[in-house]
Amino acid sequence: MANTNSAQSALDLLILTVLDRRGPLHGYGIATFIEDLSKEALRVEEGSLYPALHRMEELGWIAAEWRVTENKRRARVYQITRTGKQRLAAEAERWASFSTGVARVLRHA
């Protein structure tokens, strides 16, 4: 799973981070957080968030349930699991070493 492709694992990393820091959120909430925080630099198609969420749900990294949110709307709310937290730590470290590696090459090559 770790080496599939960097775009997908980047998206996973972002989702896990958001869920870890901000607590349970529905899909729309996650999308707006990512957009706001990255200053719209990471503008993916919003819809592609969902297959990623569902995949991570099947992997057991996040859990989902239907909840009634503000103004009585039903929404599917996601929450990071313990496996997900471990995954996040490993993934973050990998990402950090990857980006320092890339940065070093850019600087010294």
Binding site: H26, Y28, A31, E46, G47, S48, P51, H54, R55, R74
Partner: protein, 897 residues
């Protein structure tokens, strides 16, 4: 979580679709609301939100695939679709499921019996190490049909020789199981019949059977010649009779009048070494008749062994054969009168060491081949049913060909369509398999009961267990593939454009249909031939003149009290009882004999004519009282009947011989007054003089020619005898009447077994009854199925040719010409199948030959009967479509399409 949630989602895919839709819609609505707040117009906000979201359908599909098991979901969808399709045409579904269920049920039922009787290993550990011993016996066929060319009976001295030969194996001796009368420990317990078996002290240990309660018969019991008599109960008997009473150990069980202390119960599931016979009680072999331990000719036991680790059966044979040969030679040398041919057979006999994993079985000797044949018949029925369903599916497919073509044109994958069609077949097969399974659970015990008789009860472990279940599933699946694959392949092969162009592309289907009908006709013809042969065989057997009149004759085994009396007074009692019974109201005649004919018992001996070599064959000697010939209605042709004064062993012994004996030994000359010598039931040769000539009568088997019989007077050396009573009264009343009289004469005497002569004779043709009953039923089933198939195809062909028929009618063809047209089609359809069926059935009849009586392999009568039945069925099947063709209105037909 993952797998199960995906499984759940697959099962409820519609709910998943709703959830996915709702989640994404929620997102879009929130986005629209946010954009509206930013000042976008309603339409703009919608468009903007959709743009930012991406391709919603594609994303939903992607999520969907993640959240469920795609192949399972597709299968479920196919199943639902197939189910709906079947609900839409219930007539088709019911016909298909019913015919398949009958075929699968028959297969499963027969297989479960074959498995229990022949294939399943004994329920003991490492049964593959077990072996049994047997040898080709020279005296076979002399007495009764149960004897085969091989004997697995041995005497105790032989057993000792085998042990002394030190084979690389452990040997146990196990007696033949015998019916016995038991009385339980409770005061006033009734007498009951059970199966007892004598077993050596090492037998349980060698077989690897442990006790459930108490202890089993062990080595120390081998030395208790006259000590404590112990008995081990089978688990089945313990449960059935004593309701698993754990305090049973130490209680007393009376068996045939002797007291035995129950020392334990064998573990659950162990029934002895013979599948089909459930032993109830095991007794130490040391308690068997003491004479049996010294008499080298008294063959009363089977020898079962367990190979030592690493040893082979060949090594055992190598060790035992010299010992066996020496023993045989000694026996032959002791026996001075033995004919040279038999002497040779004895001394050249080679001991056989058979694999013993499946135990030993007399049932198998008689029924192995018939059961395999019946299994073959059921397979033929299955094949017919499959071909039938295949043609039904084909017909249904042609109705759906446009739909299929449409789906293909719209881009459906061919593989997906084939899978869809196969799912339908599998659904049909599993429904049929489940119904067949239920049918088998009912049918298998019914069949076993049909093979069982009161005197010789047959029981099998017919637990329809995993082995049988697997067989049933395998058969159902095979059937589904057989009948499903051909039409599926055919339909997916048709180029859509042709199918869309309506009637074109149907020629291939008709060709396949013709092929399928051909298979049905061929198989059904084989079944009809086989069924006819077995029915004729049974009819011939039932038409055999037994030489006596078995109707209305009660056969009662009398136990004449516990006290042993001198032979003369014993004989006196028998005559007295006979006279008393004969004068009872409702009794026409009564006679006494030492045992009953057609019950498996008997005494055979060589005959020594003065001045001639001893006879090559053993002849039947049978002790009967005066009045025997009158009671059984066997005509006495010359001389006199026995008198009360005849009897005992005083020389010369008066005998009555039958025609077969007279022809064989006196060459057809008047036998009265002729003499011969024979060893009666005792040592030495005694003089016998012929005083009467009786008409031929069968003694133990209707299949053989009338055997030579020497009737001898009663001896009276046994307090057991058989009473024949000819009376129109019911068997029970006759038995009560006889018991009352017997007890009045001799307290303690009673009727130990009762049956009728008709039943006894019927029991010897159980195999033929089985084959005729089952063969006839399957022939009928196959014929009906094939007729349905034929009808279906002809009907379809008439429907397809409506236009052509219309033109012919318009051009002036008469009704008879049109009917001829269809009948020609029918003949063409049946022709190929008939030729194949005829060739096949002639080959099959060769296999059946040994089981047939009075029927030749290519019997013209059987063939004519089969053909007549078949043609009638064909005409019925073809008649309706032909009528339909004749009734075609040219105007309507031409306006079609």
């Amino acid at each position: 979580m993952s797998f199960f949630s995906r499984l759940r989602n697959s099962l409820h895919s519609r709910r998943l679709d709703q959830e996915l839709g709702e989640e994404m819609r929620d997102h879009l609505e929130r986005r629209v609301a946010q954009l509206r707040e930013q000042g976008f117009g309603a339409e703009d906000a919608q468009r903007q939100a959709a743009l930012r979201f991406g391709n919603i359908t594609q994303l939903r599909e992607k999520s969907r695939d993640i959240r469920l098991l795609a192949p399972l979901e597709a299968m479920l969808q196919d199943t639902r679709y197939a189910w709906r399709g079947m609900r839409k045409s219930p007539a088709f579904a019911v016909t298909a499921v019913l015919s398949l269920a009958l075929a699968i049920g028959a297969n499963t039922a027969i297989y479960s019996i074959v498995d229990a009787a022949m294939l399943r290993p004994l329920p003991v550990p490492e049964s593959e190490q077990l072996f049994t011993l047997a040898w080709p016996s020279p005296f076979d066929g002399a007495v009764g049909p149960g004897q085969s060319a091989e004997r697995d009976q041995f005497s105790y001295p032989t057993y000792l020789r085998f042990i002394a030969a030190k084979p690389p194996a452990r040997l146990a001796m196990i007696s033949f199981q015998a019916r016995a009368e038991a009385q339980g420990p409770e005061p006033g317990a009734p007498r009951e019949k059970l199966l007892k078996q004598y077993i050596s002290g090492n037998a349980f240990e060698i077989l690897g059977v442990a006790p459930a309660v108490g202890r089993l018969i062990a080595r120390e019991d081998d030395h208790l010649r006259s000590g404590n008599a112990v008995a081990v109960l089978s688990h089945d008997y313990w449960r059935r009779r004593f309701h698993r009473d754990p305090g049973i150990v130490g209680k007393t069980l009376h068996i045939d009048g002797k007291a035995y202390e129950i020392c334990g119960v064998a573990r659950d599931g162990f029934f002895g070494i013979e599948p089909g016979r459930f032993v109830d009680v095991w007794l130490p072999s040391a308690l068997y008749d003491s004479q049996a331990f010294t008499e080298p000719g008294w063959n009363w036991l089977r020898i079962v062994g367990r190979l030592a680790r690493g040893a082979s059966r060949e090594q055992v044979t190598a060790q035992l054969q010299p010992a066996f040969h020496d023993f045989q030679l000694e026996q032959v040398n002791r026996w001075s009168t033995i004919p040279a041919a038999i002497r040779k057979q004895f001394t050249e006999a080679v001991l056989r060491v058979h694999p013993g994993a499946n135990g030993a079985s007399d049932f198998r000797k008689t029924f192995a081949k018939p059961l395999w044949i019946v299994l073959g018949l059921t397979l033929a029925v299955l094949l017919i049913a499959c071909a039938n369903v295949a043609s039904l599916l084909l017909a249904r497919l042609s109705a759906r060909s446009r739909e299929m073509a449409m789906r293909l044109s719209l881009g459906a994958a061919r593989g997906r369509l084939v899978r869809q069609l196969l799912t339908e077949s599998l659904l049909l097969a599993s429904l049929a398999g489940a119904a067949g399974w239920l049918l088998a659970q009912w049918a298998a015990p019914v069949l076993v009961r049909a093979l069982s008789s009161d005197r010789d009860p047959l029981r099998f472990v017919l637990a329809l267990d995993s082995r049988v279940l697997l067989f049933s599933i395998a058969v159902s699946t095979l059937a589904a593939v057989l009948f499903g694959l051909l039409p599926a392949w055919q339909s997916s092969r048709t180029p859509p454009i042709e199918a869309l162009r309506s009637s074109a592309g149907q020629a291939g289907k008709l060709r396949l249909g013709r092929f399928l009908v051909g298979i049905q006709v061929a198989c059904a013809f084989c079944l009809v031939m086989g069924g006819a042969a077995f029915l004729f065989s049974l009819r011939n057997l039932m038409a055999v003149d037994a030489g006596f009149d078995p109707r209305g004759v009660a056969v009662l085994d009398i136990n004449g009290g516990e006290s042993k009396k001198p032979a003369a007074s014993e004989r006196q009692l028998m005559h007295e009882l006979r006279k008393r019974i004969a004068v009872q109201p409702g009794v026409e005649a009564a006679a006494v004999a030492s045992w009953s004919i057609f019950a498996g018992g008997g005494w055979t001996s060589q005959v020594f004519l003065p001045g001639q070599a001893p006879s090559q064959q053993q002849e039947i000697f049978y002790n009967v009282s005066p009045g025997y010939f009158a009671a059984l209605r066997t005509p006495l042709l010359a001389g006199r009947d026995f008198a009360v004064g005849d009897g005992g062993l005083a020389e010369p012994i008066a005998v009555i011989v039958n025609q077969a004996f007279a022809r064989k030994y006196f060459g057809g000359a008047n036998p009265l007054g002729r003499e011969f010598r024979a060893p009666p039931q005792g040592p030495g040769l005694l003089r016998h003089v012929v005083v009467g000539l009786a008409s031929n009568a069968h003694y133990s088997d209707l299949r053989t020619d009338a055997e030579p019989i020497v009737y001898v007077p009663l001896v009276g050396n046994d307090q057991w005898f058989t009473l024949y009573v000819r009376s129109p009264l019911a068997l029970g009343s006759v038995a009560r009447l006889v018991e009352r009289e017997a007890q009045a004469m001799e307290p303690g005497s009673r009727v130990s077994e009762m049956t009728t002569l008709e039943t006894l004779v019927g029991n010897t043709i159980l195999r033929e009854r089985l084959l005729a009953g089952v063969g006839g039923a399957f022939a009928f089933l196959g014929l009906v199925l094939a007729a349905i198939g034929l009808f279906g195809l002809l009907n379809y062909s008439v429907a397809r040719r409506t236009k052509e028929i219309g033109i012919r009618a318009a051009l002036g063809a008469g009704r008879s010409a049109l009917v001829r047209l269809i009948l020609k089609d029918l003949l063409a359809l049946m022709g190929g199948g008939l030729v194949a069926g005829l060739a096949g059935s002639l080959a099959i009849m060769r296999i059946f030959q040994s089981l047939l009586f009075g029927v030749r392999p290519a019997d013209p009568l059987v063939m004519a009967a089969a053909a007549a039945v078949f043609v009638t069925a064909g005409l019925v099947a073809g008649g309706l479509p032909a009528r339909r063709a004749a009734a075609v209105d040219p105007m309507v037909a031409l306006r079609q399409d």
